[in-house]
Every structure is written in C-alpha cells, then in structure tokens.
Symmetry: C2
Subunit: 347 residues, 2 copies
Amino acid sequence: MLIALFPGDGIGPEIVAQATRVLDALAIDGLTYEDGLVGGAAYKAVGHPLPPETLEIARRADAILFGAVGDPDCDSLDRHLRPEQAILGLRKELGLFSNLRPAKVFPELADESALRPEVASAIDLLIVRETNGDVYFGEKGFRTTADGLREGYDVMSYNEAEVRRIAIAGFEAARARRGKLCSVDKANVLETSQLWRDVVIAVSADYPDVALSHMYVDNAAMQLVRNPGQFDVIVTGNLFGDILSDQASMCVGSIGMLASATLNGGGQGLYEPIHGSAPDIAGTGKANPLATILSAAMMLRYSLNLPEQADRIETAVAKALADGARSPDLGGTMSTVEMGDAVLAVL
Amino acid sequence: MLIALFPGDGIGPEIVAQATRVLDALAIDGLTYEDGLVGGAAYKAVGHPLPPETLEIARRADAILFGAVGDPDCDSLDRHLRPEQAILGLRKELGLFSNLRPAKVFPELADESALRPEVASAIDLLIVRETNGDVYFGEKGFRTTADGLREGYDVMSYNEAEVRRIAIAGFEAARARRGKLCSVDKANVLETSQLWRDVVIAVSADYPDVALSHMYVDNAAMQLVRNPGQFDVIVTGNLFGDILSDQASMCVGSIGMLASATLNGGGQGLYEPIHGSAPDIAGTGKANPLATILSAAMMLRYSLNLPEQADRIETAVAKALADGARSPDLGGTMSTVEMGDAVLAVL
Ligand SMILES: CC(C)[C@H](C(=O)O)[C@@H](O)C(=O)O
Ligand SMILES: CC(C)[C@H](C(=O)O)[C@@H](O)C(=O)O
C-alpha cells in the first residue's frame, strides 16, 4: 500500500513528520511512502505548486497524507501558480469530491472552546462538503463592463450528477451515524442552490430512514453557534462547506484538532488537517500535530481498510489528551515533537 | 418627513407595530407614515411581492421601516414571485448598497450568548455588507451541460465602482469608530475577491488613519467564534456579509436584538431587524420587537438626522433590559406588546 506524503508549506513538514512517526509505530505490513512537493515549496523548487511528478505519485498512491499549503511569499503570483492550487488541483484531478470533516469535542478540551462548555460538549457532527464544483471551479476572470469598469467574476454552478453523488455521500454518512441529514444552501437567492435542493430531495426517496432537513446558510452559521448539538450530518457545497467547517472547528475548541478526508468514487483519499500552513509559527515547534495524526487515522479507516489501527490512533490521542498533553493552541506549552511523543508513549 | 411602513410577513406586522408606538411616543414634528404591502402578504393580496404601488411609496419616502418577508406558502412559487424578492428588489431599485449591521452585547444579555460571557462581552463590531451586487444579482438560471445534465448557475461579480463605494463606507465607519477595518474575501480562490482586495487596498491610500487588514471568509467565520472582540469594522460582499452577520448576531445572544440600516448614496435608507419573518411564532406574541425598535433608532440617526431621538430610544431599550424585560428568545416570558410597553414605560 502506497502512501503519498505531501508535507507542503509552513508547519506542514513538522506535523506530517509526527503523523508518520505514529504510522511507523503501528508497524503496518507493506506500507510504503513516496514524498512529493506541493504548494509554495514546490513552486520554489520546480516552478509549479503541483508539479507533474507530484500528480503522478498521487495517481499511483492508495492515499495521500497532506500537510498544508500557503506561503505569503507567493501571494502575488499568478493565480495558477499560487500554493492553494496544489490542493485545488489534487481535488479536481483525482476527482476527490467528498470532503468529510468531523467535529467532536474531546471532553478534556471542552474548556478550550469559546462556546460555553455545555454548548460545546454537545457537538458531534460531520460536515460533508463537496469539493469538485461550485464557484471554486467555474469559469472565472476579469472583464470590462459596458461602462469600461474592471470587473472580477466567478461562475457558481452545480449539475444534477455532482449534487446526486455528494447527496448520496451525505445520506450514507447519516445512515451510519444518528440518521439526521441537514442540507445547507441559499435556495432563496441562488439557482445553483435551487437545483441542489431539488436533487437532494429526489435522492432522499432512497433513504426513508434518514430525516432530511434544509437550512439556509446564514441560518446554519447562526445555529452552529447557538446550538451546534442539533446537527448530525451537514451536507453542503464547496463554498458554504469551507466557511461552515472552519466555523465548526472553532466551536470545538481549536482548529489544531480537526482532521479531514477527501474521497473519490474509487476509495482513494486525501487526508489533511483542516488548519492551514500557519507561516507565523512555522519552524517554532508550536504547531499541534494532532489534526494530522487524526487524519492519518481516517486514512487507515477509509482508504486502507484498517479500522482497528485507526481506532488505536484515535484512542491514543484521546488518552494523551486525558494525560494532559497540550500544545500552545490548547493552552499548554508542549512542542510539536512532544505532542507526537505523548501519542507514541500511549501506543 | 415620510416614513414608508412595510411590515411584510409572519411576525413583521407585530414587531413594526411596536416600533411605531415607540416613534409616536417621541412626538416628532412632521413625521408621517404610509403603509405598503411587501412579501408573501403582497403576493397574496395583489399577485406580486413588491407591487409597483409599494415601490412608488418607497421612492417618495425619506426612510423605510421594514418588518420581515418570508412565507412558507410561497416557497414553490417562481423565484421572481417569492417574498424575498421584496427586500432584494428594494435594495436594488433604490440603490441601497450599504448595509450596516452593528453587533454589540448589552451587558444584561451577555449570559444569553452561547459564547462564554468573557468572549461575548467583548463584542462591539459593525459589519458593512454590500447589498447591490455579488452572486445575488448576477445572471442566474438553469441550463443543460454538454452531457445533457440539468445545471443551476449564478454569476458572482463585482466591478471596481461597486467595491470602491462600499470600501469608502467601510473606511468612513472605521474612522468614526476605533479605526480598524477588516476586509473579508476569498481571494485565494475567487477573482471577484481578487478585484475586491485590489480596490480596497487602493482606497486605503485615502485613509492612512485606518488600520486595514484582510481575512479569508473561512478564517473570519472561525475568528468570529474564537475572538470576536478583535473586530471593529468588517467590510465584505453580499454573500459573505449575509453569513457572517447572522453568525455575529448569535454571538451577541439573540438574533432578536440586531438592527440594521441599508443606505443609498442619497441618505435614503431601509431599516429592518436582521431576523426573518419567523412564521412558526407569528401571531403568538412571542416575537421580540427590540431589533425593530432599534432599527427605528438607526432610522432617526441616519435618514432623519435626529440623533438625540435615536439616543433616547437606544437608552430606553437598554434601561428596559436592565429592568428585566425579557421576551422568550431572551429567556423570559414577556409578549411582543409587553416588550413594547417596557420601552414606552422608560420613555
Ligand atoms: C486553501 C483553500 C483553497 C482551501 C479551500 O478553500 O478549499 C482551504 O480553505 C480548505 O478548506 O481546504
Ligand atoms: C431574505 C434574504 C434574501 C436576505 C438576504 O440573503 O440578503 C436575508 O437573509 C438578509 O440577510 O437580509
């Protein structure tokens, strides 16, 4: 089983290193790694954020363990050369359309949330975010209006096949959890959302056991603060999912804890923490590697079919937290390596 | 001075009635009202959510006091007949592009927020949301893809003139407050945002006294939970502003408290609570009228140039809360009329 390791920029290499230490400790038979350059690191080395060699490794791999991309040095490059194109390109080229972002409070961390502990501790939700379409991948550019003004534009769209497959992912996830699916859109304004809603309703006929509701995105952003415990699975488009999942991560306490998986139709997946490259703390040893370690656990579960090993990692992380392991984002002083050590000590 | 009264749907008539009671109590010389039909109520009466007579009243008025629109009976109508078109149409037809949404915690209500009291009590921010452009008003519809699939689409765009005028509104507001402006966009993905950011930076040259920062919308949604006290003024587009302002409202405690003003270039304004028509509680007397009463105060300040009268209302609301006035959304049992009574008693 081949794992592509794409550490990327900023804190990426530091956190991925801790995840591979944890994977190594499990001594899984036949696991091999191949490294690839992505993001600003790739641009600086070979002139492109997603070089062909990297894409080729990704295509061959069973799973991709991804750190983070984003580098302030690259902010004024042409859009197609910016670090973010690595993650957008991998999602698109490999058809990774189903981005799963679970948010659950570790009891030890309920006090870290900006939410009241009784509100935060009720959070146990999964955001299923579409990542192959929407305004991310439509036609975009600059043009001149009839009055001679410069205008930026981006076309938002979803077709019925794109919505159907992510709706199915949402219903399946809800069926495997508490049986509640909330579809988030802005159908009172957007035709893209109207099509989204129509298709989700059509798919729901195949899932009579799942309770489907619909919520406008503005209301969802509000409800995620007011009463996040009401949600089981949220299914939504690329842009709304980007916003709501970051918001949910903070409700949980720290974005340094949240893992994600992005799957295609063939079981291949990309696994990454939902936080970014945090250039401000890169190299200082302050990054929390737990989101990446938990992403590796998701990888074992979803792409490598090793659920017991995934459980082992997740249990070890919970135990390390219970034993007091705390990086700065969790109010502690432990370094990236010490956080890795704490998980390894339990394993 | 002519005020257009557009109560609309659901709880709209109940809350607007309390706001006019409060205005009447101020006995302002020369204030006249004219009623107009909007939303589902207008559709049911005359077949259109924004009838020409209503638009004509709006054009003549110095200010519009608006309740709320939205009616589940109308959800399957053609988009151009749905209640929401009333508010979208008024914003567009009257050029009401600058939507001001202040969020500040009344000390008495800090305990109502889902956020920890120490996080919630630090909130004192203003969201300046553009309301004439973005994906709300671009070309939209359904089309068929090359593969014969049904597709919904909406074009997002901003031109430089649209961004310039809302950026100026943002900088002016920041200058009149604590001198900090945070522009929220998604420039790492959207060309619309790239143009937005370029223009905001260009305008900033005229405001050396305002500290400008930029934040991606996903990060902003996270920061509004983590540490909302860091924000003074946020300026953003129509869609992101819709999401972030609802989120901020809940950080404050209840969406039943938040007022808004939407201004055009000529001092004309539309004033409305940011909550919706709440059809589930319409007619039960459970609606909190304070957001509408506070919207009337904003109207006196921004469109009628009566700042002392605006202060009187705002002080009366604060006093009523300090005296224990609480509607159900604030954890109490007082009815809509009793909440109005409580404010009037102070005045
Ligand atoms: C880096 C950026 C393009 C990306 C996105 O918006 O999808 C990130 O925010 C994420 O959520 O994975
Ligand atoms: C009713 C709806 C069209 C509207 C909007 O999205 O602008 C509302 O949510 C608001 O924020 O005023």
